[in-house]
């Protein structure tokens, strides 16, 4: 979205905060719930000031129990509310996994459409902030595999603002993955703009030699890689998926039909990760266009390492470019 007079420059964290504020203002059924979302404003301050302005009835500090948070959010949704639940860190969503997978995801279908579950689960995810165990994971594949859920992840403040608006407006459960290492990156947000569809990917840099696909935290990394590659005379197109379920294969396909090569980048482990699904489907769709196999850059099949190793562990410019070189060598 181009800058207009109504645009302001905000870090992603603040864009999310403003988006939540807007939702609370606009729809009295919107509730915010989670651990420490009240006075503290969340450990990342995404809900800063909201309880003060909207009260404890709308911005709810919950007991320390994630299954309880999601289970009661489901009940509130059945009663007509639109809960936006915060999970404090990626690694702490698993106690709620049963409620998400067996209840939240399936209840609309179970009821033959008679009930709707407009629940948003915000999860700050990914690494790069030097944290201890369980605070740096990227579990999106574990949700994308599950029908009934939608999964999205913004890469910049504008998308953070608008995609959260759209997720809250959606009548389906949405897992909203926030790239925590990008919380403090600034960007323009036009709160008066008319946003594009939630589940559409965006070509964020055009190129001709190879397509880089990423989402959330890795979009910036890919843009940097594309800039570096340009200096070496390689023209990389970068697609920001924005949505992980559904995946916008059309946009990726169009790009790959142009470039003939695809590298998928994410922080999550490669094995059974998003890159696998993209590689499988894109290869099927673009079999005769692909001049190289789809390559994947991502986490290893190992627990997220201690902070002093994360720089080596996380996909970075070098690892992306190495994969680019390998793909171009075909």
């Amino acid at each position: 979205m181009a800058a207009t007079t109504t645009a302001k420059t905000l870090p992603m964290a603040k864009a999310l905060n403003e988006s939540l504020r807007k939702a609370l203002e606009t729809d009295p059924k919107v509730l915010i719930m989670g651990e420490d979302v009240g006075k503290l404003g969340g450990v990342f301050r995404i809900t800063d000031g909201l309880q003060k302005d909207f009260g404890e009835g709308r911005v709810i500090d919950t007991p320390l129990a994630e299954s309880g948070i999601i289970g009661t959010a489901i009940g509130l949704a059945l009663r007509g509310y639109r809960p936006v639940a915060e999970i404090q860190f990626d690694g702490f969503v698993f106690p709620a996994y049963d409620q998400i997978v067996t209840q939240l995801a399936k209840m609309h279908a179970r009821a033959l459409g008679k009930v709707k579950l407009p629940v948003v689960i915000r999860i700050p995810y990914g690494g790069g902030i030097g944290a201890v165990e369980h605070h740096s994971e990227s579990p999106e594949a574990l949700f994308a595999h599950v029908a009934g859920l939608k999964c999205v992840s913004p890469s910049n403040p504008s998308d953070a603002y608008w995609m959260l608006q759209q997720a809250i407006a959606s009548d389906d459960p949405v897992i909203f993955f926030e790239p925590k290492r990008r919380y403090w990156d600034k960007g323009e947000v036009d709160t008066e703009a008319i946003p594009g569809p939630l589940h559409k990917a965006a070509v964020v840099r055009e190129g001709t030699d190879l397509t880089l696909v990423a989402y959330g935290p890795m979009v910036k990394t890919c843009l940097e890689a594309a800039a570096a590659a340009e200096e070496e005379g390689k023209s990389l197109e970068v697609v920001d998926l924005r949505s992980i379920s559904p995946l916008d294969f059309d946009t990726v396909q169009t790009s790959v039909e142009k470039t003939g090569r695809l590298v998928v980048v994410h922080e999550a482990p490669v094995f059974f990760g998003s890159g696998a699904e993209l590689a499988a489907r894109v290869t099927e769709r673009c079999f005769y266009h692909l001049e190289a196999p789809v390559l994947r850059v991502g986490g290893f099949h190992a627990p997220y390492p201690p902070a002093r190793l994360e720089e080596e562990y996380l996909p970075n410019l070098d690892r992306v470019l190495e994969a680019v070189d390998r793909a171009l060598a075909y």
Binding site: G75, Y81, H108
Partner: protein, 389 residues
């Protein structure tokens, strides 16, 4: 170390209508002042009093409870038969738990909301859910065939204990709305071990949510006796979370009604959650797939047959002269008609359309579902083409 229930203080709300005082036949319950098990009608069909709980019902209401139990049992027996005949894939019988379900179901107001397990056929009956609708998921034509909002009766939930949290959240919403209705979460003795149930206790207590936890302790979780779940009575669990718990004779429809009313009133009046443990017995198998002879003795079942919830009510009504042979044969006819209606309904119940696989996965649609639906339709059409050739 026992935990006293404090439920007693909130008196049940009385429904209007003319009442017969049946105190002539009432005796004080045998145990000491506040017996652990709340009972108003003994297995022998004698009315007894309880210091904290009472009901005062019209003859019509009393007969109504009996009728509900009889019809529910008949429906349940029919469903079991239909499973044997291959019309249902499975059936979870409520045999023996009629009083627990009808007593609690009849304590509800229309605007209360119920979260059942998979066995609450009697509660569904009280809510006005068409019994044939309950059969859909057991036949395998759907995963829950009714609109939860039309009777304020949620879909059956199979993942043990998870509905306790939904009930708590719903009740938090009720409180937010300033409504004075209540919510009931049904679950079993086995479910009491699930973390979700404990979390529901915590959330409901902390938010003072108007929810009644109604645990049917039917002594068994498939093959495991209640001692595998707890070494103290389950109703005692509540006190440690800061709300009252009470154990009621779950085979005594009057006591269940009285206690559930009191619990609902407790919730409605802003005192928060309450736990009711209905002490009852699963007289049949866990489901039609189960073989209880592998794990329990006939003698146990026989002992409980003597406490049958329907028999004792019949004895009482007959003793009180509230029913006679005519009335009973009318009920028999009604039962037969219900059974026949269910049989017919199941035989004409349509199989779902294949493409229903792709319906209602999302409320707002999903590109992949659309793609897969289209491809699968093409695939199916290719056979039609072949056949058409």
């Amino acid at each position: 170390m026992t935990v006293e229930s404090t439920a007693a203080r909130s008196k049940p709300r009385r429904s209007s209508g003319k009442r017969t005082t049946t105190s002539g036949t009432r005796k004080r319950s045998q145990a000491a002042a506040r017996p652990e098990l709340v009972q108003l009608l003994t297995p022998e069909g004698e009315r007894v009093e309880h210091p904290d709980y009472s009901v005062d019902l019209t003859p019509d209401e009393l007969r109504g409870l009996y009728r509900d139990m009889v019809l529910t049992r008949r429906f349940d027996a029919e469903a079991t038969a239909l499973q044997r005949q291959g019309e249902l894939g499975l059936w979870a019988s409520l045999l023996g738990q009629e009083a627990a379900q009808i007593g609690s179901g009849r304590a509800l107001r229309d605007d209360d909301y119920v979260f059942p397990t998979y066995r609450e056929h009697g509660v569904a009956w009280c809510r006005g859910v068409d019994p044939t609708n309950l059969l859909g998921m057991f036949r395998g034509v759907n995963n829950g065939g009714w609109d939860p909002y039309s009777n304020n009766f949620h879909l059956y939930t199979i993942v043990i204990g998870s509905q306790a949290l939904h009930a708590t959240g719903y009740a938090m919403g009720v409180a937010k709305d300033g409504a004075d209705s209540a919510v009931v979460a049904y679950f079993g003795d086995g479910a009491s071990s699930q973390g979700d149930v404990a979390e529901a206790f915590t959330f409901s207590a902390v938010y003072n949510a108007p929810v009644v936890f109604f645990c049917q302790n039917n002594q068994w979780a498939i093959s495991e006796p209640t001692e595998r779940q707890s070494r103290v009575p389950i109703y005692q669990r509540a006190a440690g979370f800061g709300f009252p718990g009470v154990r009621v004779d779950g085979n005594d429809v009057l006591a269940v009604l009285a206690v559930t009313r009191a619990a609902l009133e407790h919730a409605r009046s802003g005192q928060g959650p309450m736990l009711v443990e209905a002490f009852t017995y699963r007289m049949g198998a866990h489901t039609t797939s189960d073989d209880p002879t592998r794990y329990r003795k006939d003698a146990e079942r026989e002992a409980w047959e003597a406490k049958d919830p329907i028999l004792r009510m019949r004895t009482y009504l007959e003793k009180e002269g509230l029913i006679d042979a005519d009335w009973l044969s009318g009920l028999d006819e009604e039962s037969d008609a219900l059974a026949q209606r269910v049989r017919e309904a199941i035989r004409t119940m349509p199989d779902p359309d294949t493409m229903a696989i792709f319906e209602n996965v999302y409320a707002d649609g999903h590109a992949l579902v659309d793609e897969e639906r289209a491809r699968f339709a093409e695939y199916l059409a290719s056979f039609a083409d072949e056949e058409g050739r």
